[in-house]
């Protein structure tokens, strides 16, 4: 089933995407700012917002999500309460995980987000089991699992094992590789050939789409078709989203190791600017609306920060809670 079999997203829908991408970016920049004031560093998804919004918009509430250390976009696109995310990053009791997780391991059952893994590949390790449970009747019928991971994770052996299991066991699992060109301080072309990820995936015999990860509409279309195919066939699908990590690996990161040329190339292809320009062009968006949107996002995040900062610290009594059942 190709993307053409879906009706194109409405203008309102795409305006909503723009809002969401903007909210994600504002959130990430706010956290980077908080880091400079002493909060724990985070791995921001600045530059990759279209991946998060495009894929998550194609999912339904019954579906399950696993993701990696760069998960804020996925969580926010999934409807996470931003103040509870910030509370978690700050280590407060109102965080989704009571401060146990910090930014790096957030799960939120109410959102169907089973896992943020900061072990690179941990999300790939658990994802087939989540999909297996769906296949075997746990959760809502017809539900699927989506696993987000990076180009770096594709180098880990667990990538190969997870793909093989998903194909052999016919699991309802959508693999989403956000290929952002970097693996911490190592450029991905130091670790693999240009088309490696898709080639590796194709070697497993499942359908693979290679998509411009900075074009939210393209990501959405590819995701819609992949999700529909998984629901129809029960078999896994693979998306490689070509994108770029704009802010570096972990706050703070001066990125002295990144070539200026590469950065410039990708900053010109910023996913938010792309969608914004398109909507301005089409007339659904005006400069005025855009500034309203920016202001709204800024206000929403500022409120969330204040609410998160008001949340209490855990006490030492919590130190050994939730280790065992």
């Amino acid at each position: 089933m190709g993307p053409s079999s879906f009706s194109m997203p409405s203008s309102a829908e795409r305006m909503h995407w723009l809002e969401m991408m903007l909210l994600i970016r504002t959130y990430e920049e706010q956290l980077a700012e908080l880091q400079t004031q002493g909060a724990p560093g985070t791995c921001t998804c600045v530059g990759q917002e279209a991946c998060a919004v495009g894929v998550v918009s194609a999912l339904e509430p019954r579906d399950r999500i696993l993701t990696n250390h760069r998960s804020a976009g996925h969580l926010i696109a999934r409807g996470a309460q931003v103040w509870r995310l910030i509370a978690e990053v700050l280590g407060r009791v109102d965080g989704y995980c009571k401060g146990h997780s910090g930014s790096l391991h957030i799960s939120a059952r109410e959102l169907g987000v089973v896992l943020t893994s900061t072990i690179v590949g941990g999300e790939l390790s658990l994802a087939p089991g989540v999909a297996l449970a769906q296949k075997m009747g746990q959760g809502e019928p017809g539900a699927i699992t989506t696993v987000f991971f990076g180009d770096g994770a594709a180098c880990e052996g667990i990538f190969h094992e997870a793909l093989n299991l998903a194909v052999q066991w016919q699991l309802p699992l959508l693999f989403v590789c956000e290929n952002n060109q970097w693996q911490a301080m190592v450029h991905r072309l130091e670790t693999m050939s240009e088309p490696a990820i898709s080639h590796w995936a194709r070697g497993h015999g499942l359908p693979v789409q290679r998509v411009d990860g900075n074009d939210v509409e393209a990501v959405y279309a590819a995701s819609r078709s992949a999700v529909a195919a998984i629901r129809a066939t029960g078999q896994p699908q693979f998306l490689e989203l070509i994108t770029y990590r704009q802010r570096g690996h972990y706050e703070p990161d001066d990125q002295t190791y990144v070539s200026a040329q590469e950065r410039a190339h990708w900053l010109e292809r910023d996913p938010i600017q792309l969608l914004r320009a398109r909507l301005l062009d089409e007339g659904g968006l005006t400069e005025d609306l855009w500034h309203q949107m920016m202001r709204a996002a800024g206000e929403q995040i500022a409120t969330a920060v204040a609410q998160a900062q008001a949340s209490p610290w855990p006490t030492a009594a919590q130190l050994t809670e939730h280790v065992y059942a």
Binding site: R64, L66, G95, Y96, C97, K98, G99, H100, S101, H105, S107, A108, R109, V114, L115, S117, I119, G121, G122, L124, S125, L126, A127, P128, G129, V130, A131, L132, A133, Q134, M136, Q138, G139, G157, I158, E161, A162, N164, L165, Q168, W169, E321, H322, V323, Y324, A325
Partner: protein, 340 residues
């Protein structure tokens, strides 16, 4: 091949089964009781055609040869409502599954602030007996005892294998379940009651005694029991404790015994450094210090990989004679401190 037809039971409520049969009986009963239970592993299904017949191929799964994803899949499935039991075959293969066990199963309940749970069982075999060498035979149970968030079980009798495996499957925490392969074909009486459970975390006093407490688990429980018989002939009354569970560790049973006997000898096949015997000695030196009348002894495997050669494989394991000798010396020695 499992041989667990319930008809083997007479009216007595017990059957004579070996450890392998007891394990299969526990699996069979729990799969009958709870449709969420499934078993996975390399050859798990091939070995159990009658399980496939009864439960279907969905719940009895051969896997690709890939321990990391087998374990990870179990963790993901457990988080999503299933009750997976995975057979990882031999303990050294747990190293491939170590991330899923240690970083996922052991940590994610905590890291999620209690949102997630991981009711699963990871089984494997280890120990001297088959001359298979160090890449199949490595008693590394202490690593998982050290790891937060996991429970660890290592029984010594067929009845305990049945009762503890059933408890493990019903437990809401991940349980690492070790089978001493030297015990696999040993027989014993096993209750046929499908509600026969041995609680995780309870040691058992195998034999009462007054002069010294011998604590062990798995194969070397029998070493202790045999030594106790010989010690009796030397006029030394030894109490023998089978830990059965390694985590939670039933230190209360040990401490009660040491308070009575004043002497403690810890026996394990695993290498000594940072092993279970070390942990128990530390507990005794802290909690039962004033009751101790003699140094706490450990008799353990050496700090060496296990060799394949039968001669070396056997020499690796604590021996009855060594134990008898060590205990006699210990009991014979006047307590230096009291004497001084």
């Amino acid at each position: 091949m499992p041989n667990v037809d319930p008809l083997i039971y007479g009216d007595t409520g017990v059957a004579r089964l070996n450890v392998e049969q007891a394990i299969n009986l526990a699996l069979l009963e729990e799969m009958r009781r709870d449709p969420r239970v499934l078993i996975m592993g390399e050859g798990v299904a091939t070995k159990r055609p009658e399980f496939i017949r009864e439960f279907g191929a969905q719940r009895v799964r051969n896997t690709p040869l890939a321990e990391a994803i087998i374990m990870g899949t179990a963790v993901g499935a457990a988080a999503s409502g299933l009750r997976p039991v995975v057979d990882l075959l031999f303990a050294p293969f747990l190293t491939y599954a170590a991330d899923a066990l240690i970083n996922s199963a052991g940590k994610l309940r905590y890291l999620s602030g209690g949102q997630e749970q991981f009711p699963l069982v990871a089984m494997s075999m280890t120990g001297a007996g088959w001359c298979v060498g160090a890449q199949h035979n490595h008693n590394l149970e202490a690593m998982f005892v050290h790891t937060p968030g996991l429970k660890v079980v290592m029984p010594s009798t067929p009845a305990d294998f049945k009762g503890l495996l059933k408890s493990a499957i019903r437990n809401l925490d991940p349980v690492v379940f070790f089978t001493d392969l030297g015990l696999l074909y040993q027989e014993g009486e096993v209750p046929d009651d499908p509600e026969f459970l041995v609680p995780i975390g309870q040691a058992c006093v195998l034999r009462e005694g007054a002069d010294v407490t011998l604590v062990s688990y798995a194969k070397t429980v029998q070493t202790c029991a045999q030594a106790a018989v010989q010690l009796e002939q030397l006029g030394i009354s030894a109490e023998v404790i089978d830990l059965r569970s390694l985590k939670p560790l039933d230190t209360a049973t040990m401490l009660a015994s040491v308070r009575k006997t004043g002497r403690l000898v810890l026996v394990q096949e695993a290498s000594g450094l940072c092993g279970l015997a070390a942990e128990l000695a530390a507990v005794a030196a802290s909690e039962a210090f004033s009751d101790l009348r003699a140094p706490v002894l450990r008799l353990t495997g050496p700090d060496a990989p296990t060799a394949s050669s039968w001669a070396l494989e056997q020499a690796f394991v604590p021996q009855v004679e060594q134990l008898v000798q060590a205990v006699s010396a210990l009991v014979g020695t006047p307590c230096a401190r009291l004497a001084s």
